[in-house]
Amino acid sequence: MSRPAAQLPLGPVAWTVAAFLVAALPHLVAMPPVLGVVVFALCGWRLLVARQGWRLPSGWLRLLLTIAAIALLAVSYGGLWGRRAATGMLCLMLAAKMMELSRLRDLRMVASVSLFLIASQFLFDERFVFLAYLFGGVLLALGALLRIQELDVSRRSEPRGDVALLRHSAVLLVSALPLALALWVTFPRLAEPLWGLPDEVMDGKTGLSDSMSPGSIANLFADDSPAFRAEFADEPPPPSQRYWRGPVLWRFDGDTWERAFLPSRTEAPRVPPGRNDYRYTVQLEPHERRWLFALDYPVSMPADARLSLDFQMTRRNPVTTLTEYSVRSNPDFTDMARLPVTLRQLAVSLPEDRNPRTREMASELRARFEDDRALIDHVLDWLRTEPFYYSLETAPLGRHSADEFLFDLRTGYCEYYASAFAVMMRAADIPARIVTGYQGGFWQEGGQYLLVRNSDAHAWVEVWLEGSGWTRVDPTAAVSPARIRSGARSVAGGGESLEWLRALRNRYDRLQHLWNSWVLGFDADRQQRMMTFFGLPNLSRTGMAILMAGIFGLVVLALAWAWLRQPARSRDPVRRAWLRLVRRMRRRGLGPGLGETPLAWAERVAHRLADGARFLELTRTYCALRYGDRGNEAERQRFIRAARKFPVQRAVEPRRAASV
């Protein structure tokens, strides 16, 4: 079955290469371009080899090229660790395999690993549109396997055309769907992953990070992809209350805000349920971090999440797939009526040698205002009245970032305001911390859910006040109320002419939302709920497995029936008529024996029929029509009529009568 290299014909090679390239396409797009070029070059070259009948390169050259390609990969990814590097490696190895694609086994290997590539792409992106990728990729891979199979069995007939192969492959794919869906619904899901993933930056996109220095969120504003979607059991909160809390940052070294050990490692106190609680379900897009987003202050939350003292909700494992969780939040809770000394120290500490002008202004204000609240109001007022501008296009800040921003630049966005404001507060000895997360979101009227995009990323400040505990203050709101009222989009530009495009996108997002809810969010929990709906509550994992096996068996039986049932009526009407007659004869116990020719059969059974002579005559006509010249249409019709009308009746058999 192994053939020499030059003899692998173009057809199967082209199919295999096409299946591989389609499966690898999203991977290649995410890879450094140079690797994509290498993969395409190798594939193109292999096609040329098959076309021109060139020889494949020697083992040494192959090894050398493969090592070079892997080295290139290692250099571009800074190592061979991580999912992207792993799938990139797989793509490169398959492309390198092109150099020694010389046997059927190799072709099959490439085609089947293409299926693996398709599945692994969904670790990165499983949006609705990728369904097309799934079906397209599987279709081509199956087509390639069909084409390879034609090469395997030495057939006398000519290989089929590409369209016929594609059609066959589509039939296979469609007929696989019932069983695949049955398995998909019933296969027991893991409630806990077996192993976690290392934190990894997603494809150059960045979600919120766990530190903040002014200027770092800017690239998020350009990212219009959804961060999460939230469905509310009751009314959604008003736009000014839609602060989705993410990482809370305490420590400031003059440039960067970071999380602090103590508050993020200590358990939060229990929040009692209140009267104005929000109950909502969040569908979080994968962002490779551990934290989940919630409104202030979570009363209840998913089982695998924990809440830290500063009300950051984190999960044990990074969010690598679409994750759905339900939260109940009490907005009226007082966070920390008394502030412990250690935390107070943490929340007022500032690097001594930075931002002298801000410090000076803060100490002036401190002298003027006894009351913290009055001081804060004054600063907000100052921001509002002085010529501060909200803009994404601004300059980077230097060593005295707060000074430069508050007194010189005066143009920036949430991070600039939050950072400078928090520095001012701390300089005035008011405990302050920065909270990053998302603010606002687009209320999808049609879908009844809140869509929060990455461009809704936001940073605000919380100050600790006697009596009301940690209190949210959003300096950005003072400068640009529109940002808070109608979202980042309203200030980030974007012409009115693109209104229809935005409407289209919102509509598409609704589809995506349905997809997320029904397909991607289908997990152990939802499976359990579905089983409860079908009247099978508290089904254990084993029970689920038994149920799956049962349904699997049923579907396979149905498939077997569909595939194996007598088809397929004959294409020849004369033959159909004959077969009907044979069936009728068989019912009377006069069927033909195995391997008996029609004539021999007819001669054998004629004497047992009431009208044996006519049957013999009919059989002769049939043989003439089918095996001789095919006769004209009138003769054929006459035979069909005669066969249909022939009365199958046993002759009276005296012998049998006697023996009874």
Binding site: V153, R156, H168, L172, A176, W184, T321
Partner: protein, 321 residues
């Protein structure tokens, strides 16, 4: 009659399997491939894809990646379908008329049978596997095809083709469905002719010695010899005599006079096998030379004759020794 070899030469399968197979089904032709006769197992590629599917399953399950799972299950469902389709490709196929033309030992045996597809579906990518050689064939809907396969070389005598396999890995090469057949109708392998046999024995049979010694008159010109007294005048080859300066007369011989007597006992050769193969070669030579021959094996005497049937009888007698 030589013992017909039941199982495939070379590797003997465990008897357990043989016994089980025989108890389970009839393996002789004619038969219709059906449920109890058809076995299915994954091919090597099938196992490989299975392992790959396992990896896909665990990976997707771990990250609760629903599209990854869907892909995995589509592949798995395709595999299940491909198993059913492989089965369907054999199910209902009728096999009949297993036979082979006799050949000499050492020559390849072409064993043939008829494959009949009565269903309205084409059956493609079938294979008749005889261990060392296999033949691929298709049987279109409602038609019959003759399939032949090369069997391994056999010793002289009666043989059965042994256990053959009808198999298919359609449509994707993931599963191999197969059926064993063990046709009982034997075929004959003639002895192998010796490669450099001695010339045909002239004479040797006492009863006929006189006749074969003396050249008999006939119509066919044979040779020239020096004229002897008693040669009739019309026999003198005048032209040749003139060239050779001596009188030459033409010799005629009749075909009948060239009858050979082949005796197994008297054939040269160290052992029986060698003698058999020399006699076989003689028979073929005699046939080629168009000389009738008589074959004597022990007390049995065949011929004289020169017909095809006679040859077959002789070769068969030798093969069956």
């Amino acid at each position: 009659m030589a013992e017909a070899t039941g199982s495939r030469s070379g590797t003997r399968r465990p008897n357990l399997l043989d016994r089980w197979l025989r108890r389970r089904t009839r393996l002789d032709l004619p038969l219709t491939l059906a449920y109890r006769r058809i076995f299915i197992l994954p091919t090597r590629f099938g196992w490989m894809l299975g392992v790959l599917m396992g990896a896909m399953l665990i990976g997707s399950l771990n990250f609760n990646n629903n599209l990854g799972l869907l892909t995995t299950f589509i592949v798995a469902a395709t595999a299940v379908n491909s198993m059913l389709l492989a089965f369907r490709n054999l199910d209902g196929l009728q096999l009949r008329h297993g036979k082979a033309r006799p050949v000499h030992a050492g020559e390849p045996v072409e064993w043939r049978m008829a494959a009949i597809n009565e269903s309205a579906r084409d059956r493609t990518g079938l294979q008749l596997d005889a261990g060392e050689a296999a033949t691929g064939f298709d049987v279109p809907a409602e038609s019959t095809r003759e399939v032949s396969v090369r069997l391994p070389d056999r010793h002289r005598g009666w043989h059965r083709p042994g256990r053959l396999r009808i198999q298919t890995t359609q449509p994707l090469g993931l599963f191999r469905a197969w059926s064993w057949i063990e046709p009982t109708s034997p075929f004959l392998v003639w002895p192998k002719p010796a490669s450099g046999p001695p010339p045909l024995p002239e004479g040797g049979d006492d009863r006929q010695g006189q006749r074969s010694q003396a050249l008999e008159e006939g119509e066919d010109f044979h040779s020239l010899r020096e004229w002897r007294e008693g040669d009739p005048l019309h026999r003198i080859a005048w032209k040749a005599s003139q060239r050779h300066q001596t009188l030459l007369s033409r010799q005629f011989r009749r075909e009948r006079s060239r009858e050979v007597f082949l005796s197994l006992e008297r054939a040269p050769g160290r052992d029986l096998e060698e003698r058999i193969s020399i006699v076989t070669a003689w028979i073929l030579r005699a046939e080629q030379d168009k000389r009738p021959w008589i074959l004597e094996i022990g007390a049995k005497r065949l011929g004289p004759d020169i017909s095809e049937r006679h040859k077959h009888e002789c070769l068969r007698a030798l093969a069956e020794l």
